[in-house]
Symmetry: C2
Subunit: 403 residues, 2 copies
């Protein structure tokens, strides 16, 4: 036997053969040049990171915890941090969630991985928003999931199609991002959440509600949640990545007792526990005061950049373009006339030194092209946004006029 | 439908239903009282953690990397850290391993999880040492693996049984810990590695060589490795947990190109990347000098505690007891007369305030009892070891005399 590429391929599992390599990752490699105006990223703005507060929190953690910062720790996560999360749910939402129902994970991304392990048998069907969050598509694909896509409208997934596909399929999971969804920026309406809850209630289905952007809100709108209506059938994924820092990879998962018991087994098998030093440092940061003010500052900056993008689009994009003005989060989603290939647009605007993410990878059913795109507004200042959108507008006008 | 325990159970995957909850974890809950002498743990000795050097490294990392400590980072891991690992392999072993073949993981435990995802289809067979490492049994079980156990002798797995089971099964993976194995402490002989390599070479099998204890050596013995003989069929799992600190969960995996490509997809789906702040801090610690001296200090302390344990066993345990004197690592494995139930012994010695791990959980084929036990010597000083072994000896003598 020759040990070559074919040899290794023959060893691979079916599910990893089918898993998509991140399209965004590949596309960003081409867009990484510093002179490119990038609306392609999905990162929080690192200029806003509270670095000096984290340094203070780190020093305090060294004083307080000493060697415990570095020893193996328990799988569930640092108890004071879980209690802090529990308390915050009560203060913000009035929810009574015991810390034993909170498991610390490596970002909310790992929550998906663990849920896949405990809930998805190979080839199980999962209901998912279309367009939907790429990381979820990738993570659940690695677990062997098959996706049943439900199209998004301006207030969440389309209700009729959801109901139809729910009854037609054997899905027992619905994955969604109800607040400021990635990639569409859509905030589900309260009515939509109530109607979906009525369909799901007491049926064989768990809602996985991913909430990374919940605190990045530009208005006083209440953030709707399935947990208010069907708490026993709701699993929440939470994250500090958008409100404090993402690099430490600290998130959490809220789940009912029986599922939590199995999630802990899966977490232990996955990596024993999440980095305890970073858990302790984030806890010290959160409890030193100032985090709420910091979050407000993030919201103010993103909101003003979002407004600049909306204004520039209205000014420079052809009027056939449609979009929903985001009420929070980091993304703005553009629907273009069907004739526009977002992949061709990507190449043409890149020639003008502007990058974005074509809609393609956000469709779990694997369509080859779509006349949609995701624009990120968290990482560019207002002048850069105006300049980038203007350049994109010229390219778009030209494409439409060439038809 | 009633949302109760049965409802949730019905949602679970087959593989998580079958995954064992950690036996050690459960047993340790009963043994956690501070007045118990515990040989049950599997932790490195936290008294030896280089805390002040880590504080220096942390401060340096803040100066050098600033916001980069906290932003999302690449999936493969911090490049300078991967280059450091590559260089160390060359210096210690003469191996030329490119940094692109090194992926940073959350401890070597996550390496197992990722390997399971890319190499183990549900119900695939895996060859494993018996007794073997619990974390591997648990992690691969969650992926749906079936275990083919090969008994250990004093120099590694039994060769005849390995060959027989290899040809009888469809296993394409062999998981092993060739140096100072957990739980037996056995160091594979060079001959054994050569003979096993001859069986595996150019056949449909990958060896997963887990190496957490390789640097914790009490003698000048060369550490044998499959990588010296069948590098294209060897995957190495590495870890900083035993040589620096475990709480940050930094390990790595070495794999050939085609497998690495898929491991990166699996890692990205699992949690995007490993905590970048901890990667940068560990890198600064490793390059500030003193780590080799620190490792030597760990070896000296563990070696002297190991000697104390060996001496006390020879003095206080009945002579029917057999064991191999460890040449490194953190564990000593005891074979008792078949009549001794290690579970009963556990309860009787716990009454005398001494804890250890009964052999039971280390057998992947799930036997209910075994006359074996694992003793940890890394976390107790010499006097405590002598006292604990003496108490255990009395209980053992009594059990044997009652027959």
């Amino acid at each position: 036997m020759i040990i070559d590429s074919i040899y290794y391929q023959s060893l691979l599992t079916d599910r990893i053969k089918n898993a998509p390599r991140s399209f965004i990752r590949e596309i960003l490699k081409t867009a990484i040049s510093p002179d490119v105006i990038s609306f392609a990223g999905g990162l929080p703005n690192s200029k806003l990171f509270p670095v000096s507060d984290f340094q203070k929190a780190t020093n305090k953690a060294y004083e307080k915890y000493g060697v415990s910062l570095f020893q193996y720790s328990n799988t569930e996560g640092f108890l004071p941090l879980r209690e802090w999360i529990s308390k915050r749910y009560f203060e913000k939402n009035g929810w009574k969630i015991d810390s034993k129902n909170i498991l610390i994970t490596n970002g909310s991304q790992q929550g998906l991985d663990l849920l896949g392990k405990i809930l998805i048998n190979e080839k199980d069907e999962v209901l998912i928003e279309q367009p939907g969050y790429l990381g979820a598509i990738q993570s659940l694909a690695v677990q062997g999931a098959r996706f049943i896509s439900v199209p998004m409208d301006d207030e969440g997934v389309n209700l009729d199609i959801f109901e139809l596909k729910y009854f037609q399929s054997n899905s027992k999971l619905f994955y969604c991002v109800p607040a400021f969804q990635n990639p569409t920026g859509v905030l589900y309406s309260s009515e939509k959440i109530v109607q979906l809850s009525d369909i799901i209630r007491d049926r064989n289905m768990i809602v996985v509600e991913d909430t990374p952007y919940n605190d990045i809100s530009f208005t006083q709108h209440a953030i709707p949640s399935f947990y208010n209506h069907i708490p026993d059938q709701t699993i929440i994924l939470g994250s500090f990545s958008k409100t404090t820092v993402p690099g430490m990879r600290i998130g959490w998962i809220v789940a009912p007792d029986v599922l939590m018991d199995r999630l802990i087994v899966a977490k232990q098998a996955a990596d024993l526990h999440t980095d305890i030093s970073s858990q302790m440092i984030i806890y010290e940061y959160l409890t030193m005061g100032g985090n709420d003010k910091h979050i407000q500052h993030i919201c103010d900056v993103y909101s003003s950049q979002c407004n600049a993008m909306v204004k520039a689009i209205n000014e420079f994009f052809p009027e056939e373009v449609r979009f929903v003005v985001p009420k929070g989060g980091m993304f703005l989603w553009i629907n273009m006339p069907k004739s526009v290939s977002s992949l061709k647009l990507f190449h043409d605007t890149l020639a003008q030194k502007v990058a974005f993410v074509p809609g393609v990878p956000f469709y779990a059913d694997g369509r080859n092209d779509a006349s949609t795109m995701r624009l990120n507004f968290s990482c560019s200042d207002k002048e850069t946004i105006r300049e980038g959108i203007q350049r994109m507008g010229s390219v778009l006008e030209k494409m439409l006029n060439q038809e």
